[in-house]
């Protein structure tokens, strides 16, 4: 498990997540401006790092056109005021974009190519609705490479319910309710706000300031959830209430070698232990995190029992539940998504991976008794991604 080079998550911040669409708070804000503001935010919090020491800027976006185009890692680096000598590039692994940005630069650091890098992601799903501009190869259908329904994420979630009948709509709704309640409690406890970067928002009624996620619904009830429509199938199970929303937002983190962190007197929030990606059938992409987590655990020489905190992306409640069931973890386990997740906060696709890390890092600080944590997420077209982290604050088990 010991790697030649120590890789640390120094710090991360994010914008509040807005609701996509014309009524959303970021409708008049450019996607690149969102990620630039996140980058400036994390740079300003770590002023002791000379800006010309960053070796790479890796920014993910699923749709890389328009205000998410122009090699967004490079263009955002310039817009954020980094010296022109700092290179950058764009990354896409759909929902796991920002996670891939982190693991890519981690690989570069491990190889000795980088000392310091910025990794993050952005998705403005208002400006770039899911699937806009795609042109799937007809062979997918003619050769039956994937079920046509696999290209629609809601349908893949319905299929998970089909495959695992024990994962009922009731369990999904209950999980979704807890996500809202936990997110609300986390905001009340000021756990989320320290890592949010306020963003000025322009509307026809003047400038405002976004300081919290727009999609939070603390008033959610089980009855309310039960009454929601199932847009993907009649009498289906997936609703707007037990799935993540369509969102606009951005994240940015600083990833460094242990040596670089020491050189600049940085206090890393997490140490990377292992990461893995894995592919699954696209029709049930939501189970992707199961094989990727198993692989990451194997590479780390750990078992699921070693993981003290989980940050699992809630693309759909059912998809998190499938992982919990697989590993024999209770739906209400307090180690899992203690501060709620994407169902409450939102899921601006390629930015979400770093949000998981930001929250896990903050939880590590509050839980010195926890040594290891997991961030994991499913990915469209049948993938999963998992990163295992070690808590630098670990003081031994309670």
């Amino acid at each position: 498990m010991a790697k030649e080079t120590e890789i640390v998550f120094v710090d991360g911040v994010r914008t509040p997540f807005g609701r996509a669409g014309e009524k959303g708070m970021f409708w008049n804000t450019r996607a690149d401006d969102l990620v630039v503001k996140a980058m400036i935010g994390v740079l300003e919090r770590n002023p002791q790092i000379p800006k010309d020491r960053f070796d790479e800027v890796a920014i993910a976006a699923t749709t890389q056109t328009g205000d998410q185009g122009l090699t967004i890692g490079r263009s955002a680096a310039m817009l954020a005021g980094l010296p022109k000598s700092v290179p950058g590039y764009a990354i896409d692994r759909m929902c796991a974009g920002a996670m891939t940005a982190v693991t890519n630069v981690a690989g570069g650091i491990a190889f000795g190519a980088y000392d310091l890098a910025i990794a993050g992601g952005v998705e403005h799903m208002g400006h770039h609705p899911m699937g806009s501009g795609v042109d799937p190869n007809p062979r997918f259908l003619s050769e039956k490479l994937v079920d046509p329904e696999a290209l629609n994420m809601g349908n893949t979630a319905e299929k998970l319910h089909d495959r695992f009948p024990q994962l009922t709509k009731e369990r999904s709704d209950a999980f979704a309710l807890r996500s809202q309640q936990r997110a609300n409690a986390a905001y009340e406890a000021n756990n989320i706000q320290p890592d949010l970067i306020s963003v000025a928002t322009k509307s026809e009624a003047g400038w405002g300031l976004a300081t919290r996620d727009e999609g939070l619904r603390p008033e959610t009830t089980l009855e309310g959830l039960a009454a929601l429509k199932t847009p993907f199938r009649s009498h289906g199970r997936i609703t707007a209430g037990n799935a993540s929303g369509l969102n606009d937002g951005a994240t940015a983190s600083i990833i460094a070698s242990g040596d670089a962190a020491r050189e600049f007197g940085l206090k890393p929030k997490m140490r990377m232990v292992s990461f893995a990606y894995a592919g699954v059938e696209p029709e049930i992409m939501g189970i992707g995190p199961i094989p990727s987590t198993e692989k990451a655990l194997r590479k780390a020489g750990l078992t699921i029992n070693d993981i003290g905190l989980f940050e699992l992306n809630e693309a759909f409640a059912v998809q998190v539940l499938s992982l919990l069931d697989h590993f024999g973890i209770d739906d209400e386990d307090p180690r899992v998504n203690q501060w709620g997740g994407a169902i409450a906060m939102g899921h601006p696709l390629a930015s979400s991976g770093v949000r998981l890390m930001i929250q896990l890092a903050a939880q590590f600080e509050q839980h010195p008794e926890v040594q290891f944590g997991l961030t994991a997420m499913c990915v469209g077209l049948g993938q999963g991604g998992s990163v295992i982290w070690e808590n630098p604050n670990y003081k031994g088990a309670k």
């Binding site: 401006d33 630039v36 503001k37 400036i40 817009l79 954020a80 005021g81 970067i197 306020s198 963003v199 000025a200 322009k202 026809e204 009624a205 003047g206 400038w207 405002g208 300031l209 300081t211």
Partner: protein, 707 residues
């Protein structure tokens, strides 16, 4: 409309209202900032402006915030603009429609009343200057308790004095009390008179106008955070340029005195607004705000209702609008691309042309002269000028290399073969100019434009010996070429639309303003100047002392006296200009033998080692003595005014230019005639000269102030 501003309601009728939108922004510790956005709902090409309805809405919104503050709902109020624009000040089209002095005064009072509320909210007020801010757009932040500015703000200025006004919504009193008298003089008077120079964000911050500056990427977020700190008491604001006791007792009046002398020296005492502004700044030393604002009300009312403001707005519109859509220009689509330029000549004028063409068009420029040595010297001189631009930081080294490589010299006119545009800049001799054009015509295509910079010859005659005279056009620059913004584009009876269109587009690409004139002696600027200078020399020749002649033109407020102008253009050139105009119009233009003699002497004024005039030289007086019928300054002034009105009337009758507006535009851009005269025709109308000369006025109704 509130009772006290009733007279303004007509002005508000079709106002594009800049609305004041309020949204609450959460601050630390549960506090709230009411953030007001000024937005007229249009994009940045139609900036926010401040008319009566806008100000009334702004005042109402501030009143509401005051109530909320009293109720403890909000803890601060901030104002910002729409993207790229804070506010461009009062809507000038509205201000120039003000029907009487009393309405003008109400406009001043309304501004004070509305903007003044920013300091009476009961909670701190902030203005976040996020973009362009001019005039009233600067006075909004000045009336607030605190200001932040975006480091990318491209223009921040009080241009009132440039337009014949004064900053009358608090600017004249508030600014010196914020940043000190010397800095305020610079912003209120000096910059407007430097061709309306504007500050950039960092300069405004450096002067102490803004308390904090932030970069554009997070300007609003950082400003809100800064305001949060000020409200919480964790951020202390220090104002390094705020005037202290010593400045008020010692420096203030001295600075005003120096500024007054410098003003008189530079522009004379005819223009009213700089002196009105100066008086307000002087008084701001020891008056309270209320008194200061009342003084602004009265001064602004005087200026708004005066002749000079109306003429200035007219002149401003000429420069801003008419200059950009020249009268009589053919469809731009007819213009041919200019991908290579030939310059005939390698002398001083030719070098200036080559440099301008290569810098602005970035195409190959080939110069030619009689022999290799002269040509080489020309190229070397142009390269040296390009290097100078590089040393001054105005060209990158790549661009320096690029431009230098584009400039070449040749003695073989065959090298002009692929030029689309050839301009000659040789000496003023018809036969010589005809010969070089005829020589070049052998090599160039039938469509290559042949442009001449002649100032005194007939353009038609210069092209008379060509196979294709339709491609000949006059392209008359003013010296120094790089600086002077005017080109007179001279159209002969043969010039075709393609040629004229190409000339107009080329002028625009050279970043010059072009006015189309017919091929008549002196075109516009030289003809007017020859009239004034001819009258001035005639008066001297007939016994009027130089000093009396200088007195006679002082009421115009011109940038220099006739004799200063003669020395500037060169006495020889001046004498030649008078000769050619006399030859063309012997009954109306004077020649002057004395001027030829003065040219031999070489000067009119004695000057000290620094070149400052010590008065008319005794030698000059000696040369011109003998006249027997001296005029008084008043007599000569009337004579010049009436002569100008008559001459311009004739020019318009003859269609030299499309309209009186074009005469004024030429004089403003080509001769530095002041805005307060409106060029010249508004002045001639209001002075009664037009009535006397031709029984009517150039403008109907005349451009003049109101009661």
């Amino acid at each position: 409309m509130t009772e006290q501003f009733a007279r303004l309601s007509d002005l508000a009728k079709d106002e594009v209202i800049t609305h004041s939108f309020v949204r609450d922004v959460p601050l630390s510790a549960g506090r709230t900032l009411a953030l007001i956005t000024l937005d007229n709902g249009k994009d940045h090409t139609r900036p926010n402006t401040l008319g009566p309805a806008t100000l009334l809405e702004f005042a109402k919104v501030l009143d509401e915030q005051k109530e909320r503050a009293a109720a403890g709902e909000i803890h601060g109020v901030a104002v910002t603009g729409k993207p790229f624009i804070f506010a461009a000040g009062a809507d000038l089209s509205k201000v120039s429609e003000i029907p009487d002095r009393e309405t003008g005064k109400q406009m001043a009072q309304l501004g004070h009343w509305a903007l003044g509320k920013l300091s009476e909210l009961g909670v701190p007020s902030f203005v976040f200057v996020n973009g362009l801010a001019l005039g009233g757009g600067v006075e909004i932040p000045l009336n607030a308790d605190y200001r932040t500015i975006d480091s990318s703000v491209p223009a921040f200025a009080l241009p009132e004095v440039f337009l014949g006004l004064i900053p009358g919504w608090g600017g004249a009193w508030l600014l010196p009390n914020l940043i000190g008298i010397e800095n305020a003089l610079k912003v209120v008077i000096e910059n407007p008179l430097k061709n309306n120079r504007m500050l950039k964000g960092p300069e405004a911050f450096e002067l102490g106008i803004a308390d904090a500056m932030f970069g554009p990427a997070n300007f609003l977020e950082d400003s809100i955070r800064w305001a949060d700190g000020v409200i919480a008491g964790t951020t202390k604001v220090k104002r390094k340029n705020e005037p202290g006791k010593i400045e008020r007792t010692v420096k203030w009046d001295v600075a005003i005195g120096i500024a007054d002398k410098m003003l008189a020296n530079r522009i004379g005492r005819v223009a009213k607004s700089p002196y009105a502004a100066l008086a307000l700044l002087k008084a701001a030393k020891n008056t309270d705000k209320k008194t200061g604002f009342e003084a602004e009300d009265n001064a602004l009312a005087d200026m708004i209702s005066g002749d000079q403001f109306q003429a200035s707005i007219y002149a401003f519109n000429l420069v801003q609008k008419r200059a950009k859509r020249p009268a009589g220009a053919p469809d731009k689509e007819l213009a041919r691309p200019v991908t290579k330029v030939g310059v005939i000549g390698a002398g001083l004028m030719a070098r200036q042309f080559a440099l301008l063409f290569v810098r602005r068009l970035q195409v190959p420029v080939v110069i030619t002269d009689l022999d290799q040595t002269a040509t080489d010297a020309g190229v070397a001189a142009i390269h040296a000028e390009i290097d100078k631009l590089h040393e001054k930081g105005r060209l990158s080294s790549d661009d320096t290399n690029r431009l230098k490589a584009l400039v070449t010299g040749t003695t073989n006119k065959a090298d002009f073969a692929d030029c689309d545009w050839v301009i000659e800049a040789i000496y003023e001799e018809l036969g010589a100019k005809q010969a070089v054009f005829a020589e070049v015509e052998q090599f160039i295509s039938d469509e290559t434009i042949l442009a001449t910079n002649t100032s005194s010859l007939s353009v038609e005659q210069i092209g008379a010996k060509l196979k294709h005279p339709e491609r000949v056009v006059g392209f008359h620059f003013f010296n120094p070429v790089a600086v002077m913004p005017l080109i007179e584009v001279v159209k002969t009876p043969h010039t075709n639309d393609e040629t004229l269109a190409t000339a107009m587009v080329t002028a625009k690409n050279l970043r010059k303003n072009a006015v189309i004139t017919t091929d008549t002696p002196g075109f516009v600027v030289n003809r007017i100047l020859a009239k004034v200078l001819g009258e001035a020399m005639h008066a001297v020749d007939t016994g009027t002392p130089f000093e009396v002649v200088e007195e006679s033109t002082r009421p115009f407020g011109l940038p220099m006296t006739p004799f200063e102008l003669l020395e500037l253009v060169g006495l020889k050139v001046g004498a030649h200009v008078l000769d050619t105009h006399h030859a063309a119009f012997p009954e109306r233009f004077f020649e002057s033998k004395n001027l030829h003699k003065l040219a031999e002497l070489g000067f009119i004024f004695d000057r000290d080692s620094k070149g400052k005039s010590k008065g008319v030289s005794k030698k000059a007086v000696e040369i011109v003595k003998g006249g027997t019928s001296p005029m008084t300054a008043e007599e000569l002034q009337i004579r010049i005014e009436d002569g100008l009105a008559d001459e311009i009337h004739r020019m318009l009758e003859d269609g030299v230019v499309a309209a009186a507006e074009d005469i004024d535009l030429c004089l403003i851009l080509g001769a530095g005639y002041p805005f307060q005269m409106g060029g010249v025709t508004p002045y001639l109308d209001r002075a009664g000269a037009s009535e006397r000369a031709f029984g009517s006025t150039f403008h109907n109704p005349p451009i003049r102030g109101v009661q």
